[in-house]
Structures are given as C-alpha cells and as structure tokens.
C-alpha cells in the first residue's frame, strides 16, 4: 500500500435528497476533504449540517449527487474495504451474543472459524470486554454495548474507523471513560487502524480527541472552517489553551452568517420559510431566568452556561438562537446577552410573560404573523394546518416543516395567539372559555 496516498480524498462533494413536492433538498455542497494516515479528524456541526451524510458517503452507504469520493485512490462504490463504522445507536444485533456480534464482519468476509475466534477474542480483550463474550446486548449497559460496537469495527483491522457520534447516546461519565480509553489505545498505537474520522456536535469532545476539526455550517452543509488542534495528548479540559480553543469554536459557530444564496427564496417571502427549533417555552423562560440571575446578570459565556446547565452545545445553540429570533437576547462572540425585553420578561408574572411572549412571537416570527393574519382575514377564523405545512415544505424538508409547525403551535398556544385542534388539524381563534 502506498503510504503517501491519502486514505480518503473527497472533492466538491454535493448531495441532495429528492422531496415529494418541489425541488430537491440540498444537504451538502462542495465539500472537500483529505484524510491522511495517523490523524483523527472531527466533523463538527449543528444538526442538519450534513455531517452524518458525509460520513455515510465515505462509508459507501450513500452516493454523492456530484463530486468525486476516493478511498486509497479508488472511487468509492459501495462500502470500501478497510473502512469500519461505529454507530451512535450501537447497531448491535440483539439476537447475537457479544462474541457473535464481533465475529459478524469476519463471517461476512468468509474468514475461517479458528482465525475468526482468535481475532475476535483479541479485539474483545483489547477493548475491555473480557468476561462478557457470551452475554447478549440487552444484558449490557450502554457503555459496554458501545465497546462491543468498537470491537466489532476494529476486528476487521480497518485502515479507517468512522464514528457517527459514538458517545452521544451515553451518559456523561461513561462517555468520558470511553473517550479516554480510545485515545489511550490510539496514542499507544494498540489500535489496528491508521486514521479516525468522527462526527460530533460536541465541541469539547472534538477538541479533546481530534487533530483537525472541520466545522460545518448548516443548510446546506459546507465546511465553514478548518481548525488544527496542536495540544498534546492527554489533553486537559481545564487547560487555558483548551478553553480558549473551545471558546473560539463556540464564537465561530454562533456567528450570524450572511444570508446565503440558497436561502434567498426563504427571505424573499419575509422569512416564513425560517426553520424553528422545537424548544419548549419552559426551557426558554428557564434560560432567560438563568441568564438574568446570579452570577451572570444578563450576560453569560455560552460554554460556561452550557456547562453549568448541563446542556450539550447543540441544545444550547438552539435555545439561544430561539431567544435571539424572538428578540429576548442576542448572541455576541460566544456570549448570550439579554435584551431589555428579556430582562423585563425575567421579572414578570405568568400572565404578563405570556402577553409579552405573544407580542414578540407575532412581531418577530413571520410564520406566527402569517397564521394570525390568515385567521383574522377568514370569515370562519379557522385555517387548516396543511395550508401552512405546504408553504413551509417549499423551503425545507418535510420533517423540518413538521417540527417548525409543531413549534409555532406550542409557542402560539403559550402566547395565546391562536388555538389549534390536533384531531382536525385546524388553527382557530376560539379559546375554551
């Protein structure tokens, strides 16, 4: 094998998915990526940035719509040899024991049984699963299950290990243990692999593990920045250089991006096509209160706030951006700063809060304004949800449209802008008296 050939070479990869109505949905646009030996690369981005799609293109599970994808110089056409995948959900076969799960990949390749057994036991040993060989996945904790996932991926001795948010389904302590074990094995060169590519939305995780981080922007997904991490392993989360890097990535990811051509049509309709994240009004109120109170007094550093509230960076972004959209707060270089309305909101009683929230919703969320306007104009003061769903689907995928609609319904109910009958799927103006 030629050592100089990059393991993975992607150039100008784009991917769109067909939709039932209208145009295709573009999730990845013009992505270039080169992955060489002995590096751990992280794909960091918000949900919807297409990073998992990119991982699946490399894994040979999805075809790119355009661009070229090569593994060891050969075009990727189906799952390439020497590439293994670790799943967020573990993807273990519940009817196979730990040993059988680990052996599966080699069985498929037709490796003889004694050899299979030997290598499986070695992988199980390496990954710390000794004694669990005959257990079924349901008997194991989440952490142990993901170890099986690792053993199963490593046993075929891949050149490249792909990991799709491998720690995000685990609790904090377990995830940290697994990360440390993985990086120790990697540093000691005990892993039979040459490179790792991981998808994550956890900024600290990316900084902790990766040599290089590609930050993705969303809608459509593109590489917004490439960050080299030159800190020596083992990395200390509390080290000032580590914190500084995390802060700078936070700042970069919260930057308000200039309107892009792909979304121009959405803005042309006065923003009705903006996607809303389904954040409960309780969470929104909770964050406003948290930022208004001790020790932040109206302005909080996002990474610190996320840490204190035990929120994932991704969740934090969604909540903070919702507050920004509603003009209760503003994001500035990795800080969340309450605006006047936000400060007043924090001091109010329930009914006043609901009124203020309703006003802001009407003024700053175009979809809510549209629904209210339609309801006011129609003599019956009712409107089917399908009317708005169809309009939303012109701008976003069906699942995003559904989420956006759900969000506006629950926010609208809280702000008492309109009522909604879930069975009939109808908006109306009547409130139960």
């Amino acid at each position: 094998m030629d050592e100089a050939t990059p393991i993975i070479e992607l150039s100008r990869i784009s991917r769109s998915f067909p939709r039932s109505r209208g145009n295709d949905l573009l999730v990845l646009e013009d992505v270039d990526l080169t992955l060489r030996q002995d590096e751990i690369v992280g794909l960091l981005g918000r949900s919807g940035s297409g990073k998992s799609t990119l991982l699946r293109i490399i894994a040979g599970l999805i075809e790119p719509s355009s661009g070229s994808a090569k593994c060891r110089g050969e075009r990727i056409d189906g799952p390439p040899k020497g590439v293994s995948l670790v799943f967020q959900s573990f993807a273990l076969f519940p009817w196979l024991t730990v040993l059988e799960n680990v052996e599966l990949g080699m069985e498929a390749l037709g490796v003889a049984k004694p050899e299979r057994r030997k290598r499986s036991l070695a992988a199980i040993d390496l990954i710390g699963l000794d004694g669990f060989e005959s257990a079924y996945p349901k008997e194991l904790s989440g952490g142990m299950r993901q170890r099986v996932g690792f053993a199963r991926a490593l046993v075929v001795h891949p050149d490249l290990l792909l990991m799709d948010e491998p720690f995000s389904a685990l609790d904090v302590l377990t995830a940290e243990t697994l990360r440390t074990d993985l990086i120790d094995l990697w540093m000691d060169r005990k892993l039979p692999i040459r490179a790792i590519l991981m998808v994550t939305h956890n900024i600290e995780e990316a900084v902790l593990l990766c040599d290089r981080i590609l930050v993705f922007s969303s809608n459509p997904g593109r590489v917004a920045a490439e960050i080299k991490v030159n800190l020596p392993h083992p990395r200390n989360r509390l080290h000032p250089a580590f914190r500084k890097l995390v802060d700078s990535i936070y700042a970069r990811m919260t930057q308000r991006e200039a309107p892009r051509p792909a979304r121009a049509d959405a803005l042309a309709t006065n923003g009705v096509g903006l996607k809303l994240d389904h954040i409960s009004t309780n969470v929104l109120s909770g964050l406003i209160e948290a930022v208004a109170g001790e020790p932040y007094h109206g302005q909080a550093d996002l990474p610190a706030l996320a840490g204190a509230l035990q929120l994932e960076a991704d969740e934090m972004f969604h909540i903070a951006e919702s507050l920004q959209m509603l003009r209760f707060a503003e994001l500035k270089e990795g800080d969340l700063e309450l605006l006047d309305a936000g400060k007043r909101f924090a001091q109010m009683e329930t009914d006043a809060r609901k009124r203020l929230f309703g006003e802001h919703l009407l003024r700053h969320v175009p979809l809510a304004g549209l629904i209210r306007r339609v309801l006011d104009e129609r003599p019956s003061h009712t409107a089917p949800a399908a009317r708005f769903r169809n309009e939303l689907e012109d701008y976003m995928s069906e699942s995003y449209a559904e989420e956006t609609l759900d969000t506006v319904i629950s926010w609208g109910r809280y702000g008492e802008l309109f009522a909604y009958d879930e069975q009939a799927e109808m908006f109306s103006l009547d409130n139960p008296v």
Partner: protein, 576 residues
C-alpha cells in the same frame, strides 16, 4: 406475562380504497373463475373417487387425528414457503408492491370456505380418481386460511428493519442473502412465529370443514377428524361428537406444548425492543432442551447447518448500495400499470362470460340483501360478545396473576375449532325448536370471540401502572372510571380484537348459517347460507356472486368502519 396483541395487518396501512384494490379484487375473482371453469367439466371424474369408509369407532380417532395434523403441517410448510417468496418480492420491488399488497388485503377478506368448492374440484381434476387430489384440495384450503397474515407480518417486518442495523450489515459488506439470514429473518421471527400460531389456530377450523365436503352431487370424505364429525352428525351420534372434541383438545394441547410454545419462547430472543414490562414467554420443553446436554447435541448440528447457510457467500453478487437517488422510470411504471389493468379487464370479461350471463340483477340484489342480514348478525354478535368479554377481560387484566392463568386457556380456546361443537348446539336448537335465524347466530362468533378477550386483557395489562394509580388517587370510580380511563386506554387493543373477530365471523357464517343434525336441517337467512346452498347444488355462478359480495362487504366495512376507528383510537393511545 406475554400477551401479544394480535394486530391484523390490514390496519397497518393507511391508504384509502384505491384503484389498486379494485384491480386486485378483479384479479382474484378472475383466478377463482379459472378454478371454477376447470371444475365445471370435471364432474364426471369425481365419481371415480374411492370413498374411504369412515368409522365412528373412538379407537380410529388417533389415526384420524394424526392424518388431520399431518395435513395441517403440510399446509404450514407451504404457507411458509409462500410467505418467504411473496413477502420478499413485495418488500423489495416497488412495482410488485403496488399490486401484491392490495391483492393480499383482498385475499384476506375472501371467505375461504367459499373457495373450497372451486379448489376441491380443481385439484380432483388434476389427479383424477385419486385421493391425492382431495388431499391437495384440503391442504390448499388450510393454506388459504394460514398464509395471508403470515405474509403480511413478514412484509411488514422487512419494511421496518431498523435503519442502523441495515447500515451495519451493508458496511460489513454482507450479501443480500446473508443480510436476509442474519438480519431480516431474525428480525421478522417473533411476528412471523406469532402469526403462524394464529394461523394454525384458524387452520383447525377450516380443516374440519375441508375434510368432508359436498359439491353438487359428489361428496368427498378424507379420513380425519373433520370427516369423523361429519359422519357423527349424519348418524346423530352425540357420543362420537364428544370423542371428537376430546381428541381435538388433546391434539391442540400437544402441539401447543411440544411445538409452538417452545418456538415462541425461543423466538423471543429476536425481539428488538426489550422494553415491554413483561416476563418473556417460557416453555418447559425449551428449558429441557437448553438444559439437557443429550438433547442439545441433537439440535446443534441442525443449528450449525442453518448458520452455515446464513453466511454462504454467493460469489457472483457484489455487495451493492441501494440507489438512494432513484430516478423513477415513469414509462416503466405506465407499462406495468397497463399490463395489470389489462389482466384485470380480461378477468372482468371472463367473469362476465362465465357467470354474468346466468345471473340477473335480481340475483345481485338478493345477495346484497342477504349480505346485509349477515352484516347485522355480525355486528349484533360483536356487540354482545364485547358486552360480555370486555368487563371480564378488564377484570382479568387488572390482576396480572390471574392473567397468567387465563392466557393459556384463552389461547387454547381460540385454537379449538368451534365447528366441531356446532352439532351440539344444533341438537339443542332442534330439541327446543328454536328459531334458527336467532339461535344459529351465536355460532358464527363461537370461535372468534376469544380474540376480543385476548386483546382486552393485553390492553389492560399494557396500561401504565401510573395511570391506574392516578385514577385511584383521583377516586375515579364507576362509569367515569370506565369512560375516562379504561375504555380509551384499551380501545386500540379492543378494536384490533374486534376486527379479527368480525373477519372470522363472516367466514364462519358459511358453515354456521346452515347446520344439520341427521336429517334435520336448520337454515338461517344470510349470505353464508346462500353460499353454502349454492355450493351444495353446484351453482358456481351464485357461489362466485356470494363470494364477491362477501369480500366486498368485508373490505368496505374494514376500510370505512374499522380502520378509521382504529386510527382514532391509536391517535391518543398510551400504548400501541
């Protein structure tokens, strides 16, 4: 506790009656017509059949029971083969799916006992003068009662294989065949096994009807429990009926304990969600196998053989990746739809030529009116059965310990072919001179009412304990408790049970609306009696009409009443 709730597959699809359903219906009627046309010319050869004399000697029963059971398993094997092929094609080929699934839905609704007429004669003609023809016909009849729900179950499983596991098999470069054995079939196993068990239960009912059948002036009698019962009815021998019932109970008990329970318990390991707060099903036979070294040695070679099959790698297949960005070839679709349409038209024409000319509008309107009578009968009985079994089921479901005891009994009763017990009922009606229009009616629900009980128990058990506690703490009681907690809580389960019961009742009406005891013959008004009488007189045109009418009623009733009701119930359900 493991109360599965049986869920008719037709509920899982949400499409309104569409053009594919109509095409499917036409194709099926066309196929039946082909059977019938073949049958028409075959009358003569039937006389050559050797009649094996049946005796009412109880000592002959073990042999009869064994023969009947053998037919059951032959049919089950065929059903499995059919299921594997049909469901796989339907799940993997988009175009085939368009027509195969509506076909299946209609086939489920066609009264199987109506089939008998055509298939018996058809198979007799295939093997003129030989018992093999009649055997094939009987096996085929059971097959038609078993296959559809198994096929639906596998199809549904294939369509819902978890995406991450599918990706895992693909990234490990498993071939399609390897994927089928290591992922798809294991994933489908629990549902398939459960449906096979339900099918088996249903099969007993039809084999009893299929062993002794009269078409025109020919009576075919195959040695078996069904023929034994038929003879007992003819000779008015109540004692022999009793023996048959005991023999049947024994057979069902044995196959349940020795075969199905172990398989169900074994298949439980293939269940994906381990969340259900239920004890896994257990079987003493399976435990015996697992714990006894000798028995295990017996099974191991088979198991390794199966596993070896599972990983065979066909050299010429390269692991491929599905074309996610399929360009739908519209012209291909059009050609496909056109050829299906052409077949359907040909069916329609053949139907008209063969039967249409012998029938008048009056016949159609008569069949329609009789179908309405049977419909009313079915509805009234479902309501009555619900009034009885819902409270009992809830009462049992609230007492898990009791439910453990009742479950095997209810399953057992559901498997028991109710038609063996019909003569006893007829005897009572005759001796008390009851009105057959009223008193024959309960017979149509005798065998299927258990599904209501099953499902109500399962639904009550599945209610979260928190909800029951909350209701108690809010001091809800009496009607409020029923109306606010229990009924909405169990509704999806109940509807599921009721739809199964009602489907079975339509079918049973063919044997239940006409019943004999010796020379006494009781006939109720209804479509079932209409089909039964047309069968006996060899009037194929009216049999076709009756079957078509009944299928139409079942399909339309399912679509217009049951499915919307189910959707409504499921929308707010806490448990599926």
């Amino acid at each position: 506790m493991n109360f599965y709730s049986f869920r008719p597959a037709s509920l899982d699809r949400d499409h309104p009656l569409n053009v594919w359903d109509i095409l499917a219906a036409l194709l099926i009627l066309g196929l039946l017509a082909a059977f019938a046309l073949g049958a028409r010319n075959a009358g003569a050869s039937l006389d050559q059949l050797q009649r094996s004399p049946i005796t009412l000697d109880p000592l002959a029963l073990p042999e009869y029971a064994a023969r009947t059971t053998l037919r059951m398993f032959a049919a089950m094997t065929i059903s499995f083969a059919f299921t594997l092929v049909y469901a796989t094609i339907a799940a993997k080929n988009r175009r085939a799916e368009l027509i195969l699934i509506p076909l299946l839905d209609i086939l489920q609704s066609v009264p199987i006992l109506g089939f008998l007429t055509f298939t018996v004669v058809f198979f007799m003609q295939l093997f003129p003068g030989r018992v093999l023809g009649a055997e094939c016909a009987a096996v085929f009849a059971i097959f038609t009662s078993q296959a559809w729900n198994m096929t639906f179950s596998l199809y549904q499983s294939l369509k819902t294989v978890p995406g991450d596991l599918r990706e895992a098999t693909r990234s490990f470069r498993l071939s399609p065949l390897q994927t089928f054995w290591t992922l798809e079939l294991p994933f489908a196993a629990p549902g398939l096994v459960w449906n096979a068990m339900i099918s088996m239960s249903g099969g007993w009912f039809f084999i009893v009807a299929a062993e002794a059948i009269t078409v025109g002036d020919t009576t075919i009698t195959l040695p078996g429990i069904g023929s034994y019962v038929a003879l007992a009815i003819q000779q008015q021998d109540l004692g022999a009926i009793g023996y048959a019932i005991v023999a049947m109970l024994l057979v069902i008990f044995l196959y349940d304990q020795l075969l199905f329970r172990p398989i169900v318990a074994w298949a439980d390991k293939f269940r994906i969600d381990q969340t259900a707060a239920s004890l896994p099903p257990s079987s003493w036979v399976l435990d015996l196998f697992r714990r006894t070294r000798g028995l295990r040695l017996l099974v191991t070679p088979i198991a390794s053989l199966v596993r070896a099959c599972a990983i065979i790698r066909l050299p010429w297949r390269k692991p491929s990746r599905p074309h996610t960005g399929v360009v739908r070839t519209r012209s291909g679709d059009a050609i496909f739809a056109a050829s299906i349409g052409l077949f359907a038209l040909a069916s329609l024409y053949a139907l008209y030529r063969s039967f249409g000319e012998g029938l008048s509008l009056e016949d159609v309107s008569l069949a329609f009116r009789l179908a309405l009578v049977t419909l009313i009968r079915v509805i009234v009985l479902i309501v009555l059965a619900s009034l009885i079994w819902v409270p009992i089921g809830v009462w049992i479901g609230l007492r898990p310990r009791m439910a453990t005891l009742v479950q095997p009994i209810a399953q057992f009763l559901a498997a028991f072919p109710a038609n063996i017990a019909f003569p006893a009922a007829v005897y009572l009606i005759v001796s008390h001179q009851g009105d057959p229009d009223i008193w024959l009616s309960p017979l149509i629900i005798l065998g299927t009412q258990w599904y209501i009980l099953f499902n109500v128990i399962a639904g009550t058990l599945a209610l979260p304990g928190d909800l029951k506690d909350a209701a108690t703490s809010l001091q809800l009681s009496g009607w409020t408790w029923w109306r606010r907690i229990i009924i909405p809580g169990i509704l999806p389960h109940y509807v599921t049970g009721a739809i199964t019961a009602s489907g079975g009742s339509w079918n049973a009406s063919i044997v239940a609306e006409v019943a004999s005891w010796g020379d006494t013959r009781l006939t109720a008004n209804g479509l079932g009696a209409y089909i039964a009488q047309a069968t006996e007189s060899g009037d194929y045109a009216r049999v076709m009409l009756g079957i078509a009418m009944m299928s139409a009623f079942v399909v339309v009733f399912n679509r217009l009443v049951w499915r919307p009701l189910y959707d409504r119930a499921a929308r707010h359900a806490v448990t599926g």
